[in-house]
Symmetry: C2
Subunit: 288 residues, 2 copies
């Protein structure tokens, strides 16, 4: 049901800017960038936190979750560009620039960033005083100096600290997902960042493991990229077993970072369930 809620909110956000006055190629390409999606992990976490905090305006939680997922989609489109990962595949089909060309891939990423913030504005009409804090949380997680663009920019540097890189490239948007979920419900956001950072950290370790030990077809994207592109990676730094242990140690502590809230027990169960899906069954067997 949460999955349907997320798809409906994303659909509504996209439809608000499509239409006959839009250049047809851009119109098709933005649809392609957002649907069908991946696991929608970030918006799920955002809504789970809003629910645990007893959301009073579901439209605001939807806007926060949607905004975060649109920014995630934007980052994938730009990240796949020839000047970065030059990835031919994404979500099991052609990457956006392979399907629509590089110019539209650049523009779709730009348009999704703008749309993410437009969605926040439209979604907060019932309680506009929540807009500034949501903007601050979400914009901060993608912008400079420590958001996704900074994470990507670390790839252009000769020396990188693995934890700074992962925190900005992945952790920041997960931290925004939990913080924005709380802020959308009118709850103080700060104490919720640690939970998102932990989940994001675990997710990134798994992503690094799958890049080495996963199945490209199942993942819907090429593997072996961190080594090929000389990207920092938990596996490259700790080895495969070391990375698995690192994942387990993060997961062992994650529920302890959930701040006191009315729906803490429910949220704890959800976090454990979602995280168990990070490591696909095949890989768990492979490691056993």
């Amino acid at each position: 049901m949460v999955a349907e809620r997320i798809e409906a909110a994303l659909r509504e956000a996209i439809e608000a800017v499509r239409g006959p006055s839009c250049p047809p190629g851009l119109d098709k390409a933005i649809e392609y960038a957002v649907f069908p999606g991946g696991a929608r992990i970030r918006p799920k976490i955002c809504l789970a936190v809003a629910d645990a905090c007893c959301e009073d305006y579901p439209a605001i939680s939807d806007a926060a979750a949607t905004s975060i997922e649109l920014l995630h989609c934007a980052s994938l489109v730009h990240d796949d560009l020839p000047c970065f990962d030059d990835s031919p595949l994404r979500r099991g089909r052609k990457s956006l620039h392979k399907a629509f060309g590089e110019p539209l891939a650049v523009l779709v990423g730009d348009a999704l960033i703008v749309l993410a913030f437009q969605t926040l504005v439209r979604g907060t009409v019932q309680a506009p005083h929540r807009l500034p804090i949501l903007m601050e949380i979400i914009a901060g997680s993608v912008g400079m100096p420590g958001g996704i663009v900074a994470g990507q920019a670390w790839e252009c540097e000769p020396e990188v600290n693995l934890s700074d890189y992962q925190q900005s490239k992945t952790g920041s948007l997960f931290a925004a997902a939990t913080a924005a979920g709380a802020a959308a419900a009118g709850v103080e956001a700060g104490p919720w960042r640690a939970l998102g950072e932990q989940i994001g950290g675990a997710y990134q370790v798994v992503d690094d493991i799958l890049d080495v030990a996963g199945d490209a077809e199942q993942l819907g994207k090429p593997t072996g990229q961190d080594e090929a592109r000389d990207h920092p990676s938990s596996v490259r730094e700790l080895g495969l077993d070391g990375a698995r242990r690192h994942f387990e140690s993060i997961m062992a502590g994650v529920v302890a970072t959930i701040p006191p809230c009315p729906g803490a027990a429910r949220l704890e169960a959800q976090v454990i369930k979602e995280a168990s899906r990070f490591l696909p069954a095949a890989l768990a067997e492979h490691a056993a």
Copy 2:
């Protein structure tokens, strides 16, 4: 004095996201993208309208003007990329991707879009109820279906209507400059759009004329690009003399579009003065 005000506001916006935690390349590249600037026409228009409307919070006018200029800088950086205009020069020196590489050029554009909205949030703390309308005006002018990204995307289409193309690629941000200037001052924005559209239209015609009859060194960017890239252009559609007549006819009507406001006379003088600068002296002689 307005020029200094704009540079100071841009400086403050940029410094808010720079610093030691930022990847050094990204940090340098964002500075390069914004300073030194071009004519800063859009923020000047925005502040002129805010002044004519008796701005009550100068910080909010500054935020609106800055946000618009940052988005303009973002559009130049992405527009110069090899997959679009592949321009080696901008503002008389290397374009950003020539100086810093394509990856940082993509990221700087993304970061500037995010920063534009962060700047609006930070600048409206004294009157946060003005944030939603400013966000709506400014985001709409760059996003889908009719903002700058749509204008760029029209370049990817086999058939383009010149006026749709120019309105989205150029007119939209000029319309946002006048509308946001009014909204920043707490005045109804709608009636102010037409003025920006007219100024933007005149500006675009001049840009098209200079692309054919201008001096590359003086302009700080290559000429002859519309023909070479098969971009729609007033000169290509109307001829050089036709384009000049079109410019004059727009200018003849522009002051009539200024809505009633306390500073109308002052604004009228400014609009005429700024517009007279559009057509450089050399070109006016050439045409005479």
